[in-house]
Every structure is written in structure tokens, then in C-alpha cells.
């Protein structure tokens, strides 16, 4: 056993209202630069829907993630190492910009410079890549809230698989459709296929917190990571020629703050905490023969920090005491292991993702309510979870490689909690049977309710700081902004050759503050 710590996230999908605040704040922080116009480290897609980039889940086409060889060994889906080195010059699995979308802006200038006339001037769309007038054909969230209609949504790879393999027809007609929002960031996988794909060895998983990063100084732009990631969460900066990805906001994490997406989430649906896992068991778990067993296999990889043996091993393997403490209080561990509510996204890619999701109960409740029954009643809900195929099978394709049972179990617990808490709030005598039916006690249901509905900031984000033990090392980095990298979103730092930061308070308005013109070359 070799213990490692991983910062993980859980998102409660029932609470996502699809407002995109996470996407926007993330973009403002990390990718509002030239070369990353089309890049969204965090995006929110509507399911059913094609997602971003379009149909990224179709691994027959994009060949991301891992597969098992006939002898049961893990191999990258893109082929052997030699085979992929032979494809360095043209990667056949790389999405084009149009598979994401062509970023654009508008010609706002004409609004003010157009000559006087009878018609109002119009700001035409302009490509952010070429600067030429363009027509907008798709965007980062093109099928928002089932936009685009049945033809567009039928191209969702999950819908297609349900239709082809299970004969289940997902309906998109008004009043028969279902939908929910799926916010996505990098999964910071335990068995990351992007890292394994990188020919230069520029991508790595951080030992201390499991965050997967790209070393910008080592990346050579071979773009194998972009196709290697099945979630398509590594992006190619077409200006710098380097790969970039979600950093789990590590500069914030190191000082104990949650990621920007979590911090700004309006629905407060994100949870961040530490998971301890046994790194020696990862490869074997990822090689589990049956895809449907991958979810339980990943659960087996996680370690219980309350187990004295694990705590001793963690100390032996250099996991700081503070981190083990945080793992004991981890809301993520509660949702994943204790309540078994959260499920991994597409475990069948065999990357062992570490951003998990509490599946949404609302499509089931809505379907039930449409039939005229009480959508909050335990008996009705349990019956609906058993009998309704469509939302459950769809969710199973997303979260458990098609096995509906873990999804049903999770939804049953959510249903039990709802009806239990309704009785409490209405002053009725709560039905204890519901709790025992889902294998939980009433106290656990209350605790679960507290975590899902009321949890405050410190309860949702239990993040150990980079550690007192490393304070000395950290002093060295704290002298500069972590974001101040070449081509990065930092503020340029105290670069005296370029004028340095401008003290506006004492700035003489008749002088030219060089620091305000970062485009100028250093002298």
C-alpha cells in the first residue's frame, strides 16, 4: 500500500441551474487571452446534448482514454507508443477548431462610426482567429437547454448508444423531454491518459495533491494529450503552441481557497475535499475487465483515513498530518464513500476520474409529476425510479458505464432524504422505513440533508493549505504571483524593464505610464 492524497470535487447536479457563472468566471481568470479564445476549462453542457467539443464522448472517433488489450493490459486507445510517435506529424484524432467552435467578436466600431442613415447600424460578427467577417455557426454551449431540437440532440453519443444498444428511444418532444445541466472541468484522473500520451513528459500529476498540470517550459506542442484525454479537457493554445488545461486553480488551493468555479457557483453545488487512495492499486483497478465493475473498482482504491493502519501508512508515505485530518472531514468522501451518492463521469474511459457527480433526481420527479402523482411521495418516487427507464438509463450511460443499479441506489437515497425531510418540515411523524430501505439511519439522512442543502462554505470546501511543513519552500514562490507565467494570465509582475506596476495614486497624468502598455517590447 502506498498512500497518496488527491484533491477531488463532487457536483450535485440537482442544484445546477445552468447559469454558467462558473464558466464565465473561470474564463475571465484563466483563458481570456489570445490563443485561448475557444478554450473553456470549465463548461456547462445540457444533457441530452452533443457537449463541447461536439460529440466528444464518441471515442470511436476521437480515441481518447484507455482500452484493454486482448491480454487484459491497459493501452492508450490512440494506439501503442511507437504507433503514436509515428503520428506526430499529423494526429488523426485531433479535433479541429470547428469541432469546438470558431470564436468570434463583433464589429462594434461601426455602431459609432457608421454614417447617418435610415437604418440602425449593425455590429457584424468577426472571427477572433482571422479577423475576417464570419457567420456564427456554433458556439461553446450551442445546445443549451435542449436548443437545436430533436435532430441536433439525436447526435448526442449517449442517446445514440441507448438507441443502438438498448433500443431505448429518448424523446425530445415538448413535455416529454428531460434535461439537466452537466458542468465539466478537468477530471484530474488517478490514471490520466493525457499524461500518458504526452511524448515530451511535460504533463504530470502532482505528488502532493494529485492535480494534473502541463509544464509550459517542457511542452513542445505535439498535441497528443488533446486527443488522449477522453473528456477533451486539454486544449491547444494556437498562439503559443502549447497545451493548456484546468489547473484546479492550484494557486488558490495552495492557500486553502476553493477553485474559482466552486467559489462563484451560484447554486453552491460544488464540494472540494481530500481523498486518500492507494496508488499501487490504481492500474489494477483501471484494468478491471468488465466496464460496469470500474465504478466499484475505483471505490476500492480509496482508503479510509479513520483506519489507523491507513493513517500510519500515510505518515510513512509523507502525506502531511493536516491532509489526513482533512481527508477525515472531507465532504467529498462523505458523498462518494459514506452515502454512495456521487458517481464518476464515464468510468469506462478507465482514467479513474476524480470529479464526481450526484445524479439529478429532478428528471424523475418531473416525469412523475407530469403523470399527476405526488412527485415527492416516497412510494411514488421509489416506484418511478424502478420503472422509468429513460432518465435512469441515460444517467447510467454517463456515470456507471451503463449499469443502472448504482444510479437507482443513489436516486433512492436522494428520494428517501426528500420525503423524510418533507415529513419533518410538515411536522408529521417521519417514516423510518424509508431510511432503512436505502440502508441509512435517520441521523445519516439528516446529516446528508445538511451536507446537500445547508452546508456552509467551510463544510463544502475542506482544503488543507500547502502545509506548514513546507512553509520555507513556499516562501520562495510567494515572492512572485503564481499566475505570472509567459503567456499566462498574470499581471506581468514587477518587471522594471517594462515600467513595473503603475501607482495610480501618485501618477502624474502628463507622463506615460509604461506599465499600462504591456504590448510594448522590453527596452
Amino acid at each position: 500500500m502506498r498512500v497518496m492524497a488527491q484533491l477531488a470535487m463532487v457536483m450535485n447536479l440537482d442544484k445546477c441551474i445552468g447559469c454558467h457563472t462558473c464558466s464565465v468566471t473561470c474564463k475571465q481568470t484563466w483563458t481570456n487571452r489570445e490563443g485561448t479564445e475557444y478554450v473553456w476549462f470549465n463548461n456547462v453542457e445540457t444533457r441530452p446534448g452533443q457537449g463541447y467539443p461536439r460529440r466528444y464522448e464518441d471515442q470511436e472517433r476521437w480515441r481518447g482514454g484507455w482500452e484493454l488489450t486482448r491480454r487484459g493490459r491497459l493501452r492508450l486507445r490512440g494506439g501503442s507508443r511507437l504507433r503514436r510517435l509515428g503520428r506526430l506529424f499529423a494526429n488523426p484524432d485531433l479535433p479541429e477548431l470547428t469541432d469546438y467552435y470558431e470564436p468570434w467578436t463583433y464589429d462594434y466600431r461601426t455602431l459609432t462610426t457608421a454614417p447617418l442613415g435610415d437604418d440602425s447600424p449593425v455590429a457584424r460578427p468577426i472571427s477572433a482567429i482571422t479577423g475576417a467577417p464570419t457567420s456564427v455557426r456554433s458556439g461553446p454551449n450551442w445546445d443549451d437547454s435542449l436548443g437545436g431540437g430533436p435532430e441536433n440532440l439525436a447526435a448526442d453519443p449517449v442517446v445514440a448508444r441507448l438507441r443502438d444498444e438498448l433500443g431505448t428511444a429518448v424523446r425530445f418532444e415538448f413535455e416529454q423531454a428531460f434535461m439537466f445541466y452537466l458542468p465539466r472541468i478537468c477530471e484530474h484522473c488517478l490514471n490520466p491518459s493525457c499524461v500518458a500520451s504526452c511524448p515530451s513528459g511535460a504533463m504530470y500529476k502532482r505528488v502532493e495533491d494529485g492535480i494534473v498540470l502541463v509544464d509550459q517550459d517542457r511542452c513542445r506542442g505535439w498535441r497528443m494529450c488533446v486527443s488522449g484525454c477522453p473528456y477533451k479537457k486539454v486544449y491547444f493554445n494556437h498562439r503559443t503552441g502549447k497545451a493548456e488545461k484546468c489547473t484546479f486553480c492550484y494557486p488558490r488551493m495552495e492557500v486553502g481557497q476553493p477553485t474559482v468555479c466552486a467559489e462563484t457557483c451560484v447554486g453552491r453545488l460544488r464540494y472540494i475535499g481530500v481523498m486518500l487512495y492507494d496508488v499501487d492499486r490504481v492500474t489494477r483497478a483501471a484494468s478491471t475487465p468488465d466496464e460496469k465493475d470500474l465504478y466499484p473498482a475505483q471505490l476500492d482504491v480509496f482508503l479510509d483515513p479513520d483506519d489507523p493502519e491507513v493513517a500510519a501508512a500515510a505518515e510513512r508515505d509523507g502525506v502531511p498530518h493536516e491532509w489526513v485530518e482533512a481527508a477525515r472531514r472531507s465532504p467529498v468522501r462523505d458523498l462518494i464513500c459514506t452515502y454512495r451518492l456521487a458517481l464518476p463521469l464515464h468510468p469506462e474511459y478507465r482514467t479513474m476520474p476524480m470529479v464526481w457527480y450526484v445524479p439529478p433526481l429532478s428528471p424523475v420527479v418531473d416525469a412523475l409529476a407530469r403523470t399527476g402523482f405526488d412527485g415527492e411521495d416516497t412510494g411514488n418516487l421509489f416506484g418511478a425510479i424502478e420503472s422509468l427507464r429513460i432518465p435512469v438509463e441515460y444517467l447510467a450511460e454517463l456515470f456507471t458505464a451503463g449499469d443502472p443499479e448504482p444510479v437507482r441506489a443513489s436516486l433512492r437515497r436522494l428520494a428517501a432524504m426528500r420525503s423524510f425531510m418533507r415529513s419533518v418540515n410538515l411536522g408529521e411523524v417521519p417514516d423510518g422505513a424509508a431510511a432503512s430501505q436505502v440502508g441509512l439511519t435517520e441521523d445519516q439522512l439528516r446529516a446528508m440533508y445538511r451536507l446537500l442543502a445547508l452546508a456552509r462554505y467551510e463544510e463544502r470546501y475542506v482544503i488543507p493549505t500547502a502545509g506548514v511543513g513546507q512553509a520555507h519552500d513556499l516562501e520562495a514562490v510567494a515572492t512572485r504571483c503564481s499566475l505570472d507565467t509567459d503567456g499566462g494570465p498574470g499581471m506581468g509582475g514587477g518587471d522594471s524593464a517594462r515600467g513595473g506596476p503603475v501607482e495610480l495614486f501618485v501618477w502624474n497624468p502628463h507622463s506615460r505610464p509604461d506599465g499600462l502598455f504591456p504590448g510594448s517590447r522590453p527596452r
Binding site: L76, A90, L97, S127, G131, A132, C198, S200, H238
Partner: protein, 242 residues
Amino acid sequence: MISTVDLMLWLVLPYVTIAVLVGGTVWRFRHDRFGLSTRSSQLHESRVLRVASPLFHFGLLFVVGGHVFGLLVPKSVTRLLGLGQEAYHVLALVMGTVAGLAAVGGLAALIWRRWGTPAVRAATTRNDRLTYLLLVVVLLAGMATTDLTNGVLGEYDYRETVSPWFRGILLLHPDPTLMASVPLTYKVHVLAGMVLFCLWPFSRLIHAFTAPVHYLFRPYVVYRSRGEGLGTREPRRGRYVP
């Protein structure tokens, strides 16, 4: 007696080239690690690239192999291996033509693509244009040596002149007189080649020196500690824009 021009071109310039190539590469690796990139444009266009780029790159790799064989391996060695002059000539002519055509054809398609695709064109720098121009000159002159001087117009045994001169440069007992009398196509090819090598470390061509061969020998997943290189990095690196 050798003229000053010949002395400059075939004695001084080669060493200047080596100095610039080595020094420039070291400088770039030390001060502009961030700038080392293929700067791939596949994101913008992949249909033409899919054919043209492997054609160009693999063609060029074969061309390099041919140069190593023709320049570094002395005539006596090939004769010892049982490869006569006539057989060598045919081999060089056929292989050189095929590899050269692949590289030239690939480069032509890549330049056409770069010119014709607005997004790729917008991503092209002045440095890139100069690089492509030099590549075209070097490749065409190279094709001329293989197929004109040494093919259509008869046979020219460069392994008596160019190859010994090249080895002399590397072994530090240079003999510029060997190059003074070679046909013009060879002179143009060698000269343009030296200019290209001078540009090499300062252009996108440097990505060739970062070929990721070690990928074959490392474990799949790379773990790195946050502590590695903490605070050791220079606060400001070179901001070289090719």
C-alpha cells in the same frame, strides 16, 4: 592558390554556422524553453496537413539519412561493403529522388495550405516565411544536385570532393580547395544549407531537436513534486518571439 572568397565560403562560414547552430540552440534551450514548440496549425486545418505533413517530414528524415550516408561514410567503406561506384550512384539517384520528391511535394502542399487557409495564414510570422523560403531553396538546389548535375547531365562523384570537405570540417582539418571546383548546384545547395542552419535555432525548426524519443522508455504516468524547482526558476526568461 585559393581565393579569399572560397576561403570565406568554405572555411570560415562552415565554422560560423556550427558556432551559431550550437550556440543558438544552447541559448534557446537555456533562455527560451517556453518558446520551443512545433507551433502546430493542425487545429485550424487538418485535411491537407494529414497528407502533406507526414509526406514532408518523413521525406526529410529519409533525406537526412541519405546525407549521413553520402557525407559521413567514406567511399572506401562502401566499397569494402561490396557497393561499387555504379551501384552507389543508382541507389543515391533513385532513393534521393524519391525522398526529395516527397519532401518537396509535402513542402509545396504545406505552403499552399498555409497561404490558402486564412486561419493558418494569420498564424504565420515573418520568421516562418523566411524559413519556408530557405527550405524551398535548399530542397530545390538539393534536387538539382541529385537529378540534374548527377543525373540528367551525367555523373558527378561528390564523394571525392564534397564529402571529404564536410568530414574535414568536422574533424578540424578543413580543406576548402575541395569545394572550390564543385558544380554550381552543389555550391548553392551547401551555401543555402549553411544559411538555413544559422536560422535553425532561431526559427520553429528547432522543434526537430526536441524529438521525443525518450517517450518510448518512460513509465506512462509522470509524477512530479510541487517542490521540484521551487523558487529556482529565473523570475524573467527571454521573451524571444520567432
